[in-house]
């Protein structure tokens, strides 16, 4: 294997001071939830280990993941990661294009066989032989499968690669599928979100470099350190939820006071992400802090879970969208009316029976034919 620069060398070459470098390592250790001692381990890894080559492929996507990534809060994070990635392959931000660019993929595959990370932004469409996403004249699915064949691990950036996202939303005309539906033989780390938080993305790469392994994942394959809790669990408005103080409409007193947005359909209680601790744009804010509920962008199929302003999904029956409570009340009302009608019919039937009170006598009126009349009262 040819000698490769370390991350530290790359950073220094980019004009980054050692002081900033150490800051980055401490920040990342904190973001990963590691003990302070691990910051030193991070420093060491960055200084001594060869840079991990990363191939960054783009399928059907909107580039919001890349946009998020290049806005990592710590300026250094951006520089480090960008220099790392632009050296290899990322078709939206690299300098090379055309055949030169595609040659890089082949070269990395050969040179770092089994040793590079494949980052996938977006997903492959399967319909019509994959013609909805053509990269260098071929369906994206082919490029993805080839690049995946020799990689060490795959990072599924964003909700597209992790779950399918908007292009896989009903009715999914291109039959776009998440990466794990087409690649089965490699470890896949899902970093969902539309887009994912920049710090989460850089921390995942840094973790893999430092510890030579993929971070601990939950059942759905997301790193536990960022997706182990819901937005709701760490929300700074949680106190208002517990107290029963809610925003009831967008411009009420509760909204001005920053009450809980649950009644406005905030999906924080059903969404696993790090927004409420890490926040966005240099820790400036996140949707709930800006007064809008969470829309659950890091959850599977979030486009198909009804309105962004309902925290319980409407249920589709025969193409009609029903709210569970409206439907429930209607059904309970109908059943209640039926019960009353049935009770009335039972009483009438009983009153009509001659000599039948107290049920002491066997029924002698069997087959008398009253049943036909009573049938009308049976259903309301």
């Amino acid at each position: 294997m040819p000698t490769t620069e370390t991350f530290y060398e790359v950073m220094r070459r980019q004009g980054i001071t050692r002081r900033s470098f150490l800051k980055f390592c401490s920040l990342t250790a904190t973001a990963l939830g590691l003990r302070p001692a691990y910051a030193a381990q991070l420093v060491q890894a960055m200084e001594t280990k060869p840079r991990i080559p990363v191939l960054w492929l783009h399928g059907l996507e909107c580039t919001c993941c890349s946009e998020s990534f290049i806005r990592s809060a710590h300026p250094l994070v951006k520089d480090v990661m960008l220099s790392m990635i632009s050296l290899d392959y990322d078709d939206t931000i690299m300098a090379a294009s055309g055949h030169q660019a595609e040659a890089i993929v082949a070269e990395i595959r050969q040179k770092y066989k089994g040793n590079y990370i494949l980052a996938v932004e977006g997903n492959p469409p399967l319909n019509q032989d994959g013609m909805s996403c053509i990269i260098a004249g071929r369906p994206f699915l082919e490029q993805l499968k080839e690049a995946a064949a020799d990689c060490k691990a795959i990072i599924s950036w964003g909700s597209c690669a992790s779950w399918g996202c908007v292009q896989a939303a009903h009715p999914n005309p291109t039959q776009a599928v998440p990466v794990h539906h087409v690649i089965h033989d490699k470890p896949i780390i899902k970093v969902p979100g539309c887009p994912p938080i920049a710090e989460v993305m850089t921390a995942v790469v840094t973790f893999m470099l430092t510890f030579d392994r993929i971070p601990e994942l939950d059942r759905q394959g997301r790193p536990k350190m960022f997706y182990g809790q819901r937005i709701h669990d760490k929300c700074y408005r949680r106190g208002h939820f517990d107290a029963g103080q809610f925003v009831e409409s967008w411009d009420d007193e509760g909204a001005r006071r920053g009450y809980c947005l649950y009644k406005m359909g905030c999906k924080g209680p059903t969404t696993y992400n790090a927004c409420s601790n890490t926040r966005w744009n240099n820790g400036v804010s996140f949707p709930i802090q800006s007064g809008h509920g969470c829309i659950g962008c890091s959850e599977d199929g979030f486009w198909d879970k009804g309105s962004f302003y309902d925290h319980v999904t409407d249920t589709r029956v025969f193409g009609v969208e029903l709210n569970a409570d409206r439907m429930g009340f209607a059904a309970a009302g109908t059943v209640g009316a039926a019960v009353v009608a049935h009770a009335a019919a039972s009483a009438i039937k009983r009153a009509r029976k001659p000599g039948q009170f107290g049920d002491q006598e066997p029924d002698k009126t069997k087959g008398q034919g009253t049943a036909g009349n009573d049938q009308t009262g049976e259903r309301s």
Partner: protein
Amino acid sequence: MSTAVPTVKRTAVYVYEAPLRAWHWINALSITILAITGYLIANPLPTLSGATSDHYLMGYIRFAHFAAAYVFAVGFIFRLYWAMVGNRWSRQLFALPFWRRRFWIELWHEVRWYAFLEPEPRKCIGHNPLAHLFMVVIITVGGIVMMFTGFALYSEQAGLGSWQDRWFGWVIPFVGQSQDVRMWHHWGIWVISIFVMLHVYTAIREDILSRQSLISTMVSGWRMFKDDRP
């Protein structure tokens, strides 16, 4: 587990043993609390004014829901145990004679009785076949679904690695995602509420119109028959 009446003459049978009756009423109470608090968790009460630190309304509502849920779950496990050690009628809740033809014939007879097409219902010591079917579907199957989805949702706050997560966390990806689990758990309120309406109505109606006691049986345990005919 015959639901038909034996030909021997009996006017009273001890059907529901004391622990089973206690379970019934405790279960009824826990379901009532679960349905009300569950509805209020999905549709919270109007906002409280005043300092946030003065209130803990949602906290108390949720506490009541979780406490009642544990009572329901422990009761369910106890009820399973009682089905093993109790009398033959205690097993009806967990066993449906699905393959027995006579069960379905008698069930159809019961449906016709409710549709006013039969002049007289048959005698039943345990549940009548129609009630038996509803009990198994709503209380056993429905109860299991509610417990699994409920504990899965509970595991979200208990956190990764908690026993709720280890035992029930898989339900969330199995169903889809957290919001889907919520939706189905929420539908459970309406299924159980409608069942309760029907259950109470038919219990009262049968107590008056059928040939055996119903409501008093769940209090005293004795099934009293109103006539001596088979």
